[in-house]
Symmetry: C2
Subunit: 146 residues, 2 copies
């Protein structure tokens, strides 16, 4: 007896498997980011910047204190991967926008997640759809705050 229990998995087993997958994907992401001189946090922030985004919005997305964002953006800006622009309609807010270089680097990071990418290639269309639907159903419940 051990891992060959192919009956219905317990909730605990599922949670551990989910955690293992999550950890693996995170490491793949962190490795790709490091390959371009970025920490995973920096890469994650860069990945959110499809358009101009106020500092506060970033803090909300990252679920962290606003002062934390200041530091992260400071470091990204020092490398010219990001710019702070004044908001025309509210002089309190600073909109963060990715520079061309920033967009380029995050695109390459995404492309280099080979472990994750390779693993997903082993699923056929039907399996991908099944997995996607199941995870999509799980998502809202997992993102509940309390």
């Amino acid at each position: 007896m051990s891992t060959t229990t192919s009956g219905t998995p317990t909730k605990l087993q599922l949670m551990e498997l989910l955690a293992a997958i999550g950890t693996a994907q995170w490491r793949d992401f962190a490795a790709a980011a490091a390959h371009h001189g970025l920490t995973s946090t920096q890469a994650k922030v860069l990945a959110q910047l499809n358009g101009p985004l106020p500092m506060r919005a970033l803090a909300t997305l990252l679920v962290c204190d606003a002062s934390n964002v200041t530091g992260i953006i400071d470091r990204l800006e020092a490398r010219s991967l990001v710019r702070r622009e004044p908001d025309p309609s509210d002089r309190r807010v600073k909109n963060v926008v990715a520079t061309d270089e920033g967009r380029d680097i995050i695109r390459r990071v995404r492309e280099e997640m080979q472990a994750t990418s390779g693993a997903l290639d082993t699923l056929d269309a039907a399996e991908s759809t099944t997995l996607y639907d199941l995870l999509a159903r799980l998502r809202p419940g997992m993102e509940k705050s309390a």
Copy 2:
């Protein structure tokens, strides 16, 4: 048009969904840990300690430098959640073992992952099995190092 694309998901969509689920579970874990005065790293280490484990083995499991483990265990030991024991067969190694209090606290952290737990409750037995099997197939490929 937008998220209602119920055809075959693209690999990118699957990767983003997986990342979202991973982040949500991680936050659930971190919140439960914080509820007991632990950082997520500390809780993660505690969760590995089913038996005595050398510092080096921990570093390997966490994929980090050995010196990092020294600090983490220092802090856990300061709270009596963990003990360092000499290894009888090799005086260089120190085996880390969880104290009763440590085992107790990590058990409670696991029990309090309510968001994740609640989300998984919405799957029936067949769906759980399907999800488990798909993820189990994905796992080895994702854990490949490079």
